[in-house]
């Protein structure tokens, strides 16, 4: 190979993080691996708004009021800001246990359950906790080697445990969890308002230009093109309306009850044999305030921290846009792979691997990926 020169290269922690995330801008941006649908979202929003500002707004600003494009611009900027914030931020990923901690927990589990003879299936790894007079079970995550906090879940697409896991949204290209749920909610809310706004003013535009042409109004330039573009915008808005407004309504319902999509789909708090939601304050306003305006915990991933290592020139250069887990770190990669292969298959009621593939209303189904396996 090339000359082996030991040089100090700054390696940041994001390059060695396990899980299937993509990092950009030297660790400042964190997304899921599949970003195709996110680009589609961007294209649809930017394209529709560009058409609206270029054609309808020019007419409506003159005929009705200049406030129309101004308000549309504000809504558009807010929707884009919240979209980018949702897509690029850490949803609340729980870092995996280091080997010492994992061994300590294993010892504790063995102490409570007793050592299992070879060939026998070990009992499911569950701890029971009492929260606000309700019993809540904590499950052990075989991939991350931790007992998951309540409301946390393992996302099989990103291969991470995420706190207050809501769902994995391909439209924003990221998981939605504790740290970015409010941005996600504000995004779908502002997008709903923007869609309704554009849809309404498209109808107004058509009505005005067809039927309400008063004296002195400018004839439309390129009437056929205008017509086609308007119809296109109306169509996009119509379909977006049905999905996004419905989704906003659903999430408003969830926020009011302080539930997550994951819990709603699994029916964690419904049914007469189940516990009631212990996280709800019982008061809609209080629930909304807590979910949307509560304190925001910072990311515990420390993506931009520097790993103290001296890298030799022969080591593969990790590119800034590359996926993070191509070279599993020496301490964690082989260790987690070996342990995973040795763990017997848990009983179906406790399986933690395929359960996170859910399809909330409005989200596209994703081709299922190998769940829970560390990358080689």
């Amino acid at each position: 190979m090339s000359v082996m020169v030991a040089r100090k290269k700054v390696v940041r922690k994001w390059e060695k993080l396990p899980g299937r995330n993509t990092f950009c801008c030297d660790g400042r941006i964190m997304m899921a691996r599949q970003k195709g649908i996110f680009y589609l979202t961007l294209f649809l929003i930017l394209g529709t708004c560009a058409l609206f500002f270029a054609f309808e707004c020019r007419y409506l600003a003159v005929q009705l009021s200049p406030a129309i494009p101004v308000f549309a611009a504000v809504l558009f900027l807010f929707a884009m800001a919240t979209l980018l914030r949702t897509s690029f931020s850490d949803p609340g990923v729980i870092p995996r246990a280091l080997p010492d901690e994992a061994a300590f927990i294993e010892m504790e589990i063995e102490a409570t359950n007793g050592t299992v003879p070879q060939g026998q299936r070990p009992p499911p790894r569950i701890k029971n906790f009492q929260i606000n007079n309700q019993i809540v079970k904590l499950k052990y995550c075989y991939t991350c080697k931790i007992f998951r906090p309540p409301r946390a879940s393992h996302c099989s697409i990103c291969d991470n445990c995420v706190e207050r896991f809501d769902h994995h949204c391909p439209w924003v290209g990221n998981c939605v969890g504790k740290r970015n749920y409010r941005y996600f909610y504000l995004f779908i809310l502002s997008l709903s308002l923007l869609t309704i706004y554009i849809f309404t003013f498209n109808i107004v535009y058509v009505a005005l230009s067809e039927f309400g042409c008063r004296d002195g109004c400018n004839p439309r330039l390129f009437p056929v093109l205008n017509c086609v573009l308007t119809v296109l915008e109306v169509l996009i808005c119509f379909f977006t309306l049905w999905s996004v407004v419905g989704l906003t309504g659903f999430h408003t319902f969830l926020v009011a009850l302080n539930q997550t999509t994951n819990e709603d789909i699994k029916g964690s708090w419904t049914g007469k044999n189940r516990v009631q939601n212990p996280y709800s304050h019982g008061n809609i306003v209080k629930n909304c305030c807590e979910v949307l305006c509560g304190p925001l915990p910072p990311s515990v991933l420390d993506r931009r921290g520097i790993l103290q290592q001296e890298e030799s020139a022969a080591q593969e250069e990790t590119c800034t846009r590359g996926p993070a887990a191509q070279e599993p770190s020496a301490a964690q990669g082989p260790f987690s792979t070996v342990i995973f292969l040795q763990v017997p298959v848990p009983s179906p009621s406790n399986t933690e691997m395929p359960e996170e593939k859910q399809l909330p209303a409005g989200e596209l189904p994703i081709p299922s990926q190998d769940t829970g396996q560390a990358e080689h």
Binding site: F78, D100, P150, G294, P295, V300
Partner: protein, 164 residues
């Protein structure tokens, strides 16, 4: 007055790591960040129960303050929302301010209380807020310092530590 036997730097250089104890999260209050105040048996001979409990209770208090839902947190949230969260580019959140206080507190505790006893606390933030990691060091220093280390713990241990 006997000078401190172990400084933090000395500890890292001269001692070897014997074992680590992990203080787990306490979820009885919900998903807020709280740690169990149960005294780990491995620390029985190294530190007094009250000191340990006081450390954990103070940490719990800090985390409760960070996650407190009240007027000021709502104000911060609404202001941030009104600026489309651009304000966080220049302003630190309340939570981050408290986390800085916590790391200062932990460093202070390490210097004053834990390092002289051959222990080291790790900030839970570095462990994903899952555990408080306490490293227990075996002393490889001269026998004088190790015996004074153990005598300090036994003389102070009349309160709660079992006979060792």
């Amino acid at each position: 007055r006997r000078p401190q036997v172990h400084s933090l730097q000395e500890l890292r250089r001269s001692a070897s790591l014997a074992t680590k104890v992990f203080v787990q999260r306490d979820y009885s209050e919900g998903t807020t960040c709280q740690f169990q105040t149960k005294f780990p048996p491995e620390l029985e001979s190294r530190i007094e129960r009250q000191l340990f409990e006081e450390t954990v209770k103070t940490l719990n208090g800090f985390y409760a303050e960070a996650e407190k839902i009240g007027g000021s947190s709502y104000l911060e949230g609404c202001l941030a929302c009104a600026t489309a969260y651009f304000i966080f580019l220049c302003m630190e959140t309340h939570y981050e301010k408290v986390l800085r206080k916590i790391s200062k507190y932990i460093q202070e505790q390490n210097e004053k209380v834990y390092a002289p006893r051959g222990l080291l606390l790790t900030d839970p933030l570095e462990r994903g807020m899952r555990v408080i990691e306490i490293s227990i060091y075996e002393d490889r220093c001269s026998s004088g310092s190790s015996s004074s280390g153990s005598s300090s713990s036994s003389s102070g241990g009349g309160g709660g530590v079992g006979g060792r």
